[in-house]
């Protein structure tokens, strides 16, 4: 199962809106195929540093930093579909 992790900080309204759209993309691919986790960067700073995350928000797929800002829904969808093929 693909693991999508979104690193951001709570209280960022702009992120929350964009995050919801991306979450829908992930869920539309099937929750049995792709998992979604929202990571509070302030609570898991060590893990974020492990993955090389330098900016918030960022997205990692399967433990690898993939986007250093929130991508468009279509970009995330394409990145996930490539991996699911």
């Amino acid at each position: 199962m693909l693991k999508v992790e979104v690193f951001s900080s709570p209280g960022c309204g702009k992120c929350a809106q964009a995050r919801d759209v991306l979450k829908e993309v992930v869920e539309s691919l099937g929750t049995d195929k792709v998992s979604w986790r929202e990571v509070n960067i302030l609570e898991e700073m060590d893990y974020a540093v492990d993955l090389g995350i330098m900016a918030s928000p960022s997205i990692a797929i399967d433990g690898k930093l993939e986007f250093t800002s929130l991508p468009r829904a279509s970009t995330l969808r394409a990145a996930l579909l490539r991996r699911l093929e």
Partner: protein, 143 residues
């Protein structure tokens, strides 16, 4: 109003530092005297202290410029500043991690050198550094 020396004293910096901040666009005199001396008001003191404090938190002058712009922007809110601060904290955590690795590597080199009476050409620390320089040079050629 403060002259440049007095202003610098208020924030525990030198007049040269104040001039440098001015050159970088972080600070400006409130006005100049007819003789061309710079004069500053109490806002300049606050701004100067803000710059110093931000520097101590690891912000570069360019980042401090961004923070000051946010501070004076009608459209920005504290979330924007928080986001800049989180980015800086991430950078610092990465630096700490890199420093820890360097410290660990040095610790290993120090452990490998257990005979202080050895001649310099048999020094394992120097040998290890030489070999790492040689490896890097080879890697650079191979790349």
């Amino acid at each position: 109003m403060y002259a440049i020396g007095k202003l610098a004293q208020q924030a525990d910096v030198t007049p040269d530092t104040v001039r440098y901040y001015e050159k970088e666009g972080l600070l400006a005199p409130t006005r100049k005297t007819e003789a061309g001396y710079r004069l500053y008001d109490s806002d300049a003191v606050r701004r100067l202290r803000f710059i110093r404090q931000a520097q101590q938190c690891g912000f570069s002058l360019a980042e401090i410029g961004e923070l000051l712009a946010l501070k004076n922007s009608d459209e920005a809110c504290c979330k924007d500043v928080r986001s800049v601060a989180i980015g800086k904290k991430l950078q610092l955590e990465h630096k700490i991690r890199a420093l820890q690795l360097m410290s660990h590597a040095l610790g290993e080199l120090i452990t490998s050198c257990n005979d202080e009476a050895r001649p310099l050409d048999a020094c394992p620390i120097l040998a290890a550094l030489e070999s790492s320089v040689a490896k890097q040079a080879k890697g650079g050629r191979d790349a």
